[in-house]
Assembly symmetry: C2
DNA sequence: CAGATAATTCTGTAAATTCAGAAATTGATA
DNA sequence: TATCAATTTCTGAATTTACAGAATTATCTG
């Protein structure tokens, strides 16, 4: 593969793989994603195998995982019966989808558990007050954060980008703020 | 330890430990943190060992790690020469510190690498245009995100809480928005 | 300063994760 | 419906990571 011959492409892919391992995604998954992200055209599984030196099976698993994150999709290339794959090119979109999936997998179940614990502790006289307080607080915190996320994700991307470009200047527009920096 | 006898405390700690493994922190570190978070009083290392059934060495390592995140600190308890530890109780503060540390450890080096790659690709005629474009875009994206974070973290916590409670309603206050929901 | 206790670092082992190859399945074509 | 390519699933091996215990270093007390 010609793309992979480029040392900077290789550096990107290797680094991306390491990043993955620090963020709860396995190295192969992250590398496959990096390769697809850099690639101009849809790539088939066999080409990924050759480019990254992974086993066919791993590539298959990685592609499946990336598709559940919805940051890679299967496309059909005319005159070729093999499946080809492309990565989401819009980075903002990519980030949103990863966040959505991780929330679904990990945060939501955590909130559910905390709700249960908090609920039980509230009606348990024998429970140490401090324990109750801490669990309730954590539940409230994550729920608030989750609720905020659910709201913000409904905003159009353009609004989000505007907000981000504003940076700390958002504060200016809040009601009750004397407009200064 | 009396706190740990409570089944809900145990459930919290175990779940927190699993969460850790999905977010790039090892189980012991997350469990020690959970225990300290739930505990009313400062806890010494030996007590943690007994409560969680970990080796003394692991507890030592975990405490060190939590201190580099600055979400646990050492406190002195009168009349006891052993070190005792307490977790940050303000959850918002806790989150900010974790984010800060992970950015420092993982995001900043990534941005630095991308800057280097993007720079080299810009002055490399032989590089595929698409590769250059993708790397440059990723660099810009992460830089923007990083810059946004650096700005937002300077805002007072109260402002941040206000912003969060506002949720999607922030959009209303942006210049050029016809105030509706 | 000697003895004791606490804390950290080092090292071998256990556990968990990742991954390659084999086997099984799917699905397209003739 | 038989065949062949493509893809996925399963399983054992290899690598990596987490951890317990031993050894070392630091700190406190009398």
């Amino acid at each position: 593969m010609t793309l992979l011959d480029h040392p900077d492409a290789k550096a990107f892919i290797l680094h991306w793989g390491e990043m993955g391992t620090h963020w709860g995604v396995n190295r192969s998954v992250a590398q496959v994603h990096a390769l697809l992200y850099l690639s101009e055209k849809p790539v088939d599984a066999e080409a990924i195998v050759e480019a990254l030196g992974l086993a066919r099976s791993n590539v298959s698993t990685a592609l499946k995982e990336l598709q559940t994150y919805a940051i890679v999709r299967r496309v059909h290339v005319e005159g070729d019966r093999r499946d080809h794959f492309v990565a989401e090119g819009d980075l903002w979109e990519m980030l949103m989808r990863i966040v959505a999936e991780r929330k679904r997998r990990e945060i939501d179940p955590t909130i559910a558990l905390l709700a249960e614990l908090a609920d039980r502790l509230r009606s348990d006289d024998t429970a140490p007050a401090h324990l109750r307080d801490r669990v309730v607080r954590m539940h409230e915190f994550l729920s608030t954060l989750g609720g905020w996320y659910e709201q913000v994700r409904t905003l159009p991307k353009s609004t989000l980008v505007t907000l981000m470009k504003l940076g700390s200047k958002v504060a200016r527009f809040l009601p009750g703020s004397k407009a200064k920096d």
